[in-house]
């Protein structure tokens, strides 16, 4: 497994050594090495958004017995590129009476929060931007910062639909954050560490989805709600709120929201693959390919939910979150604790 992992680690080291040889300054090499990681994360997000927009439409079409995009290129694979050109050349409309600084900052801040969560995702053995001691907690803490930009966009747009959407964001994301954190706690309790590399290492024998099935289901539902996807897309419910906080945005500003949304979905899938599906562990194939397969499976699951469940009502959303998911996740923590105490008594 170690030699297969060295593909990306080796690439990073090669870059570092090349820069060191060229400049002779260790701090320049260190800086370039770090920047290479940032560029890597950025390209993962952008490429996945590029593919996922197309894939989402194809999966949707498949589930509704349609063809989906099929005009541009073979099987319509150039559809997304046409979309990007459209978004980039679209006029940037700033409505009257918006709060300009906050209105402009909101999409950027949301994307920043989405991108920062990728710092702790282990794509392969050793391929992690920052293997922090608090790993998974960092993901939760940074991910929770997404609430504020959404509210900011809703408030600064000076539009009642956007404001209602922003208010709903706060209610929904804060409510579902709690079961999300508690569902992750079971895994942390078994591992005894929040470090991502430790969590993956603990799953070399048995994936945590086997020992923590309830936590996995709770995580799945809560993360669909956190990423504001159907059936929990009350924030942008088209039939009632136009597009929620995104109503007044057009062109690339709107694309930023879209990008952040996909980045959060991929991030949530990566965390599910890392915490419950064994991360990069797997036989024969290199680790990063295993990780890719698991993340792809999780993303398909998210899309499946989106096109097969109807949107739920606000009151259903709230009562489900507080009366079903939260007690379930707490029971899971208690049961995990009792199990650990019975079978692995601490010293």
């Amino acid at each position: 497994m170690q030699e297969s992992a060295s593909l990306w680690v080796g690439l990073g080291r090669a870059i570092k050594q090349a820069v060191l040889a060229a400049t002779g300054a260790p701090w320049v090499a260190e800086l370039v090495h770090t920047l290479a990681g940032v560029v890597g994360i950025l390209s993962i997000i952008l490429l996945s958004a590029l593919v996922l927009v197309y894939l989402e439409r194809k999966v949707c079409a498949w589930m509704q017995m349609r063809l989906g995009p099929n005009r541009l290129g073979p099987y319509g694979i150039f559809q997304t590129i046409a979309d990007i050109i459209k978004l980039m050349t679209k006029e940037d409309i700033q409505p009257a009476q918006v709060s300009p600084v906050m209105w402009g900052l909101a999409p950027v801040l949301l994307f920043m929060a989405a991108m920062t969560t990728y710092a702790v995702i282990p794509f392969d053995a050793g391929v992690i931007f920052a293997d922090l001691n608090i790993g998974i907690f960092f993901f939760v803490a940074v991910g929770s910062q997404a609430t504020l930009p959404m509210l900011m966009a809703g408030w600064a747009s000076n539009n009642k639909y956007a404001m209602v959407g922003g208010m709903r964001t706060v209610a929904q994301m804060i409510s579902y954050e709690i079961p999300l954190v508690f569902s992750l706690l079971g895994v942390v309790m078994i591992t005894g560490s929040m470090k991502m590399s430790d969590i993956v290492k603990a799953q070399e024998g048995l994936w945590f989805i086997v020992t923590q099935p309830i936590a996995f289901v709770v995580y799945l539902i809560a993360s669909v709600a956190e990423t504001n996807r159907t059936p929990f897309d009350l924030v942008e419910a088209e039939s009632e709120l136009v597009a929620g906080p995104f109503t007044e945005y057009s062109g690339m500003r709107w694309a930023y929201f879209f990008l952040a949304e996909y980045a959060f979905m991929v991030g949530a899938s990566c965390i599910a693959a890392t915490l419950f599906l064994g991360g990069w562990n797997g036989p024969f194939l290199p680790g990063w390919i295993w990780f890719f397969i698991k993340v792809a499976a999780m993303i398909f699951l998210f899309m499946w939910f989106r096109w097969t469940f109807p949107r739920i009502r606000v009151d259903q959303l709230m009562s489900f979150g507080w009366k079903v998911l939260l007690p379930l996740s707490i029971v899971n923590v208690v049961v995990t604790g009792i199990g650990l105490w019975l079978f692995f008594p601490l010293v």
């Binding site: 701090w27 608090i134 907690f137 929770s144 509210l151 900011m152 408030w155 804060i174």
Partner: protein, 169 residues
């Protein structure tokens, strides 16, 4: 890394600057919503300072609990201050002297506390979340439980307030 010290100093001053500037904004901005969003920047700046002190867990808690709660603060601020113009929702008043006195006495108390504390240089060991948890359930169990009870009471109180209570029969 020989540049570690320099980077550390740079990060400290940058983060302190951001934190202080945002805190000034919280006080001086006329718009309550702008103040609340700047408060979130202040909290994130403090989280960054914790990060430079290698207190990663504290930094994450600061970001999750404090900065995350600002969203709720904004909602409450918008909902409870019924103003047509949010730009006048944080009005100044004529209490300059009293305010200055109160602020100065708080500063004095903090400075006195800092000067009176015998600061010990730690052994450089990183405090992990596990250490904090262990202390919570051993040495600091009574205060921890007391806080838990207080929060539970607040939670129940909030639910009761929200329900509005049926008319007494």
């Amino acid at each position: 890394m020989e540049n570690g010290g320099l980077m550390h100093t740079l990060a400290f001053f940058l983060l302190s600057g951001i934190t202080l500037a945002a805190a000034m904004g919280v006080v001086f901005k006329r718009n309550l919503v702008h103040s609340a969003f700047l408060l979130s920047v202040t909290f994130l700046g403090v989280a960054g300072l914790y990060m430079t002190l290698q207190a990663e867990f504290m930094a994450a808690v600061q970001a999750l609990v404090y900065s995350g709660a600002v969203a709720v603060l904004v909602v409450i601020g918008v909902m409870l201050t019924h103003r047509q113009q949010m730009s006048r929702s944080n009005p100044p008043n004529k209490m300059l002297l009293v305010g200055a006195l109160a602020a100065l006495s708080v500063v004095g108390a903090i400075v006195w506390a800092i000067l009176a504390t015998p600061w010990k240089v730690g052994k450089g060991s990183v405090v992990t979340a596990g250490d904090i948890g262990r202390r919570f359930l051993t040495d600091f169990a009574p205060p921890f439980e007391a806080v838990a009870l207080l929060l539970l009471a607040a939670l129940i109180g909030a639910v009761v307030l929200f329900k509005g209570g049926k008319a007494q029969s």
